[in-house]
């Protein structure tokens, strides 16, 4: 494993001019998943013509947004070369917080948002300290923080219940001026923030650290601070995912985050981000997440028993990882050729 990493690192060193080409092809991962998404829409619309109604599009977007935000957050951690399991814990925790302490009105929604962002940031920073500064393997450290978050969520709310403030439950799942779904606005906003972030020093450092931490360190990048920042961004986005999940379900559930654990990795992989770090991006993950939710919708419109949802999710997960590896392989072999 380490030798494989080392070879790819030297390769990257020798092939610096080719790097741009490879990056270009890697971003084709996002294009590829975008094409798949559109094709799926066509299939879905052909099967169920009502799928193209404004209501149907709005509800599908509302269903997809929490996973899209979670996958966006996960991308930061995967890009720097690690995995973040705390996503399940943070989403459960924020969902429970919003449902147990609802504050009414638009201002109240902001207060709730500040709460979950604060919690996400705190857990993300803890992960960052454990992984970046104390050098604990990311899977192990975030597994522990995930369990602790789930415990806190259970302390706040023992069983599913509570209610989410009306403003969050209705306004955030509706449409602006009756035409543009709020969920779409949020997704586009996240994409824009990402595009801006990618051009900052931290954004560039994120890719450099993921590709080769030692080389990044030698060229003067603060590797530990970059890793720390990635976990903080991830935590904040998970908090937002929990917030939007609450808006969608309008109730609290201390285990609400569990399904996100596998799905958000599947979304990241589908979006063309490499699990070995350093290539891919948030836009691909956003589309990947939307594709996963659409796929489930298409599958169940064909009448498969809901008992077998898990088989579908598991198989999609494995296929997604192989797909990401295939995109990587293609870009690498073309980069060398």
């Amino acid at each position: 494993m380490s030798a494989v990493d080392a070879t790819s690192a030297t390769e990257a060193g020798h092939a610096a001019p080719k790097r741009r080409l490879r990056q270009g092809i890697a971003s084709q991962g996002a294009v590829l998943i975008g094409v798949i998404y559109v094709i799926l829409w066509v299939v879905y619309a052909a099967e169920q013509p009502s799928a193209l109604s404004a209501y149907s599009i709005e509800s599908l977007l509302n269903n997809s947004l929490p996973l899209m935000l979670a996958a966006a957050g996960q991308t930061f951690v995967v890009l720097q070369g690690g995995f973040d399991l705390s996503v399940a814990g943070i989403i459960s925790l924020s969902n429970v917080l919003v449902a147990v302490y609802p504050v009414e009105g638009p201002f109240g929604a902001l207060v709730n948002l500040a709460m979950v962002v604060g919690v996400g940031l705190a857990v993300g920073a803890t992960n960052g300290i454990l992984v970046a500064y104390m050098r604990i393997q990311s899977i192990a450290a975030t597994l522990a923080t995930m369990i602790v978050c789930q415990g806190i969520a259970l302390l706040i709310l023992k069983a599913p219940g509570g209610y989410v403030s009306e403003f969050i439950a209705y306004e955030l799942t509706g449409s602006l001026f009756g035409t543009v779904p709020v969920a779409a606005v949020i997704a586009v906003a996240v994409a824009c923030i990402w595009l801006a972030f990618r051009r900052t020093n931290t954004g560039i450092a994120l890719y450099a650290v993921g590709r080769d931490a030692t080389a990044a360190e030698l060229s003067g990048i603060d590797v530990r601070r970059t890793r720390f920042a990635a976990f903080c961004w991830a935590g904040v986005l998970y908090g937002c995912a929990g917030f939007m999940l609450s808006a969608q379900t309008s109730t609290g559930n201390p285990t609400a985050g569990e399904p996100f654990l596998l799905l958000c990795f599947a979304a990241v992989a589908l979006g063309g981000t490499s699990f070995s770090g350093g290539s891919g991006g948030v836009i691909g993950s956003l589309i990947g997440a939307a594709t996963l939710m659409l796929m489930q919708k298409v599958l169940f419109s064909t009448g498969v028993s809901s008992f077998y949802t898990g088989v579908f999710q598991g198989v999609v997960m494995i296929v997604a990882v192989l797909f990401a590896a295939f995109v990587q392989y293609m870009s690498r072999s073309r980069g060398n050729g």
Partner: protein, 345 residues
């Protein structure tokens, strides 16, 4: 280029062998002794909570309850040893339990081929995970998480949502039997631990797993079939989880779809608390056994104190976290240096 590669591989192998030897002499017996010491202290001090605690009968109960965790932690430990993580354990336990109750359907007939069949099915599923990890290069936790969800979903569909049937009466009787005054499950635990220790630390297969975990490239260069060994570790892990499911179904006299949930995270915790490195290549099954008994003792005491589920979960996470922080390489290094200094001075 190839000469250089060989050089680095040999160096790496030598270095790996070095740290392995040092680690075994330096920290492993200490870790195991400390874990068992804490466990004994916990059991003794639990007398303060309730006078019924702290005696031999409570120790028997704890050993009995921890045996399920010990069974599945052994497989988890082997997978972690080869740098993996098995997140399919909960579903595999459920599968073992569901198959025990549906295939045996409350009768002793066919027990001699049903149980080996369940273990074989489990091992086959584990091999698929192993192939996914080695041949398809899917990250272990994703492969096993996906496999776990698939298996759980199949159990759900197979039982149509509610598992029916009962295990064989012979199995249920075995769980309640006493041999020379010792509960049969405790003896079963002792036999299992003995076999597992021999398999992990004394057989060629076990030693080779350490080699793969320490440095897969060096192991491969020195002629080991790292793929086959890794797949073997995943197969054994799934088989141990299936076995746990059979034992749990026999104990509870039935199966539920959620019966494995309480064992996944504790199995990782037991391995980590037991002093194995989460990075692979280092660890001893006796440490894991100590970790499993320690966690079960802690759980029993917390239950007796009437602490709510949330706190129990938080404590579980905190125990893993503390173990991870304490058992880091750098801390061992510091202890080794300190011990070297004191023995020299």
């Amino acid at each position: 280029m190839s000469v250089e590669d060989d050089m680095t591989a040999t160096d790496a192998a030598a270095a790996a062998a070095d740290t392995r030897g040092a680690a075994r002499i330096g920290s492993e017996p200490i870790t195991i002794a400390v874990i068992f010491g804490i466990t004994v202290l916990l059991i003794l001090s639990s007398r303060f909570i309730s006078p019924a605690f702290g005696g031999w009968s409570q120790t028997e109960t704890i050993l009995f309850l921890s045996s399920f965790l010990v069974f599945c932690s052994f497989g988890q430990g082997l997978v972690i040893l080869v740098r993996g993580l098995d997140l399919s354990i909960a579903s595999m336990i459920t599968l073992g339990g569901v198959l025990t109750t549906t295939w045996l359907a409350g009768s002793n007939d066919g027990i001699w081929y049903v149980i080996p069949a369940i273990l074989a099915v489990s091992a086959a599923i584990g091999s698929i995970s192993g192939i996914g990890v080695t041949v398809l290069r899917i990250p272990p936790f994703i492969m096993t998480l996906a496999m776990g969800i698939i298996v759980y979903s199949l159990c759900l569909g197979y039982t149509q949502g509610t598992p029916r049937g009962y295990p064989a009466p012979a199995l249920a009787d075995l769980m309640r039997a006493h041999v020379l005054g010792v509960p049969a499950p405790v003896l079963l635990l002792a036999v299992f631990v003995a076999i597992a220790v021999v398999l992990q630390s004394w057989t060629t297969f076990g030693r080779r797993l350490y080699a793969v975990g320490n440095n897969p490239v060096a192991a491969h260069v020195s002629g080991l079939s790292t793929r086959r060994l890794t797949i073997g570790a995943y197969a054994i892990s799934a088989m141990c989880a299936g076995f746990t499911g059979i034992a749990l179904a026999a104990y509870a006299n039935g199966a539920t779809l959620r019966m494995g949930d309480d064992y996944l995270l504790p199995s990782i915790a037991a391995v980590v608390v037991g002093g194995s490195s989460i990075l692979g290549g280092k660890g001893n099954f006796l440490g894991t056994v100590g970790g499993a008994i320690l966690l079960t003792t802690l759980g029993t005491i917390l239950a007796a104190l009437g602490i709510e589920q949330g706190w129990k979960t938080i404590i579980e996470g905190a125990v893993i976290l503390v173990a991870l922080i304490i058992l880091r390489e750098s801390v061992y290094e510091a202890i080794r240096v300190w011990m070297g200094r004191t023995s020299a001075g």
